[in-house]
């Protein structure tokens, strides 16, 4: 069971033998100094990895509907080639994996993508629940190159603007992947952080190679986590730790009724343009129960009437976060 969980990660990093990072196989075993017996550290590291993924807290209520903004640093610091092929591309592929795992684990959540490049923060994709659009947008952005300064303040402000209209029942999060050691801001970054904290948005940061004061301040002020990755694999692990929702702080939100639609899969005799797929014509799709719009993928938000459309397996998937297994 344990091996199955880690198999996709290992397979992705395998490739050709000469491309793999230099492996120190002698560090996988440890000798007991007194008896001289050998012990494999693989089980220990695996358990530690699992613990990190859950961030150590079990049986705690977590948010079910997450609205997250992923802020990716595409500044000149990410053009460094100490990770292969470059930091930016390695981070982008880790983010790719993360996005897919995120929607796998939290089907009814939504994600937005922001890039920090050349001193500005660009919104690569708006808040939606389609992993493919996010991954495509990210790939295009990374192909555009990594240059300029990263401005944390602009990224934080843009994320706050994206998350501002979200109602209180969703947990609002910002996840920053920062590869540099400094931020070059036009205004006061601490005021932006205070704004986040005041609105109850949680900002977590995954950094690379060194602890930067402003990032640790951001995570502390807003109640998030700051972790620094020592290598590519470690970066992927830290990112995977954010796939499960963070524990709810305090009493959470008072119970509210959320209107949701449960469309059924229908097959039409003739193709019909879909509203959420750039009007591409499809024969198979979903019909919104309220406005009868033709939707290609679910879970989604109906383009016409804004109703959250889910299917019951998705809801069941997220259910155990709200009512944790004992």
């Amino acid at each position: 069971m344990n091996d199955d969980d880690d198999a996709p990660v290992e397979a992705a990093s395998r490739g050709y033998a000469w491309e793999a990072r230099f492996e120190r196989s002698w560090e996988q075993i440890q000798e007991d100094p007194r008896t001289g017996r050998l012990k494999s550290l693989a089980a220990v590291t695996q358990r530690a990895r699992k613990r990190r993924r859950d961030d150590g807290v079990r049986g705690v209520r977590r948010g079910m509907i997450r609205y997250a903004v992923l802020v990716v640093d595409l500044s000149a610091a990410m053009a460094a080639t100490d990770w292969s092929p470059s930091r930016g591309e390695a981070v982008a592929s880790a983010a790719d994996t993360f996005i897919r795992a995120f929607f796998d684990e939290n089907p009814i959540s939504q994600l937005a993508l922001v890039a920090l490049r050349d001193g500005v923060a660009e919104l690569l994709s708006t808040l939606n629940s389609s992993p493919r659009s996010h991954c495509d947008a990210l790939a295009t952005a990374v192909a555009g190159g990594c240059y300029g300064d990263a401005s944390l303040e602009n990224g934080v402000r843009l994320a706050a603007a994206v998350l501002a209209p979200i109602p209180a029942y969703g947990t609002r999060e910002v996840l920053v992947l920062f590869g540099g050691l400094a931020t070059c801001d036009p205004g006061d970054v601490r005021a932006a952080m205070d704004g986040l904290a005041a609105d109850g948005m949680r900002a977590s940061v995954v950094g690379i190679d060194a602890e930067v004061y402003i990032l640790s301040l951001l995570s502390k002020r807003t109640g998030g986590m700051y972790a620094v990755a020592t290598g590519e694999a470690h970066f992927g692990e830290l990112l995977a730790g954010h796939v499960t929702p963070p524990p709810t702080v305090g009493d959470g939100v008072p119970p509210t009724l959320i209107r949701m639609g449960f469309p059924l899969l229908r097959a039409l005799p003739a193709p019909r343009p879909c509203f959420d797929d750039n009007l591409a014509a499809r024969r198979v799709g979903y019909v919104c129960p309220r406005c009868e719009a033709w939707i290609a993928h679910v879970p989604a938000e109906c383009v016409l009437c804004g109703l959250t459309l889910v299917s019951s397996p998705h809801l069941a998937r997220s259910y155990h976060h709200l009512f944790p297994r004992r």
Partner: protein
Amino acid sequence: MAWMISRLLESSGVGVRTTPLATRCRLPTSSSTTTSICSTPRLRGSSRATLLGNVWWCLTRCAHNIDNVCIDALSVAIRGDTLTRSLRNLATLNARVGSIKTTNADRLADEYARLVQGISIQGILPAAQDDAGRRRATADIIQASPVIPADAIEETVPGNIRKAEHFLRFLRRVIDHLAKRMKRPDVLQESAPKFVHALLVDVQSDAKPLRFCSERLKSLLTTLEVADAAAFAPLQLVADMATLLGTYGKGQSFALIFEPFDERLPSIPDPVLQLCCLDASLAMKPVFDRFQSVVLTSGTISPRDMYAKVLSFTPVVSRSYSMSLQRNCICPLIVSRGPDQVAISSKFDCRGDKAVVRNYGMLLVQLAEAVPDGIVAFFTSYTYMESILAMWDDMAIISLLLERKLVFIETPDTIESSLALDNYRRSCDAGRGAIFLCVARGKVAEGIDFDRHYGRAVVMLGVPFQYTESRVLRARLEYMRDNCGIREGDFLSFDALRQASQCLGRVVRSKADYGIMVLADKRYVRADKRNKLPQWILELMPEANVDLDTDAAVSVSKAFLRAMAQPLDESAQLGTALLSEADVRRLAEKDKVRTTELAAQKEHAKAAAATAPEPVAMQMDEDDDLVDYLGAVGATDFEDEAMQVLEETEAQLRAP
């Protein structure tokens, strides 16, 4: 720390009264100048006048500069404009005396009467009046005199300076003589007796009035009810010099050095007459005499035997403690070569070498790339810093630095430097990162901390030797070579390493803090320099981190930063770096047992004294209880006080 001091004192069984200064000490490193408990007011910092009663311990923190402080306390420098200003002061005083004579003549008459009877110089009567106590109490009150109390004369003021006009005329003659001596175009270096002899011949007096100059002037200022005593500082300086000359003019421990201009700037006339104290042990003597135990503590006292030689005392206990850390929170490195393998150094002959300067620049640039937030770089002197910055500007290294972090520079001007420091901190707080370039013996190095993100790395560019051609330093080195047996090279490198350690210690202020310490000079690799670093730095510097080149140093720093960025396991610290609650309770239990033991022993001693009144010759070794011994010989008064103080300390321990 207060707890630890109380434990130390209790374990020796001596009665103690902790002064506020003693309970404020910290381990292991401390910034700020020396503040010491001493009855000589000219020692910088606090002159605690409230030490009445039985104070047995004197605890000094930041004592690494104590020899410099002792020297400065007994040295006076007089510049050209000091004399002109003091002449002006004299004129003012003459006018004041003239006016007072017409309006309120009995004030002067009172002062005269007081001086004749010799009751008190300042007109302040000491509190305790019995003969034995009076001597000590006067020594404790803030003294007007710049000399150490043992040498302060206890006689009455001599007749030729008792009257105000006569005294002012005497001062005038002294100032005229000094002005005459300072008119020479060349350098003068004389021993004190020769100078004093010439002075006395010119002033037509003997040495005794000279000794009273300072006190007499203070008394005069008090009598005339001068509101703005600070305006008379030049005159007080001259009076201090006269007093020092009169008191110490006979020995070889003082030298007079006159320089018409500073050698580094020969075109600017800047006459300075300096009375230099060459012997640091003079000012320490009263401290050693007055207190039963003196403890010198600092984070960077190293090597310890040098202090013993300079201050001429034999330490009873000489210990060096290391930090108890959970993880190695400092990363000391010695970089001796640049990426092109050219050795880097701040030696005088290497200073113009473009390769060396470029290597220093690239070291800083690569560190700026690898280290987040603030970096502090220390240069050995202002002139060196300016020349290096000019060359870096030509090589476009400054623009490389600016791409990564903002650059701030310390200047000799205080306001500019404090502005620079303020903006440096703002830049670090805003996440932009910054580099602060300052000088190893400047104001920033003495007082400012760069803890947490304000200083993640400190770089010492070169070895901060003092200006070795300075005459004052040469005189002092000669004296130490002849009298203390310290070689000049040893002392100079000791002083340089002491300064370097002080600079390095700026970045780490707590156990949760971490920092990289880079010593960038090939001379640090040599064992005679490296071994002078304090133990807590040497312990955390493995052999592999000595003699690195720039690239290796940067990769070591990166690995260190990666390790430090990982989360700290709080629970693992208990027992090693922190005391857990159980540990504290256990130690408190031991204290309680100890105090009951002491009380029981005292009872036993009392009973023994009652039955056998003749004194018993006891063998005193270090572990013997002093209370026990004194109890045996019947010194009951001391016991009572000791018990009372022990109870007080116990109460202090129990209180949070």
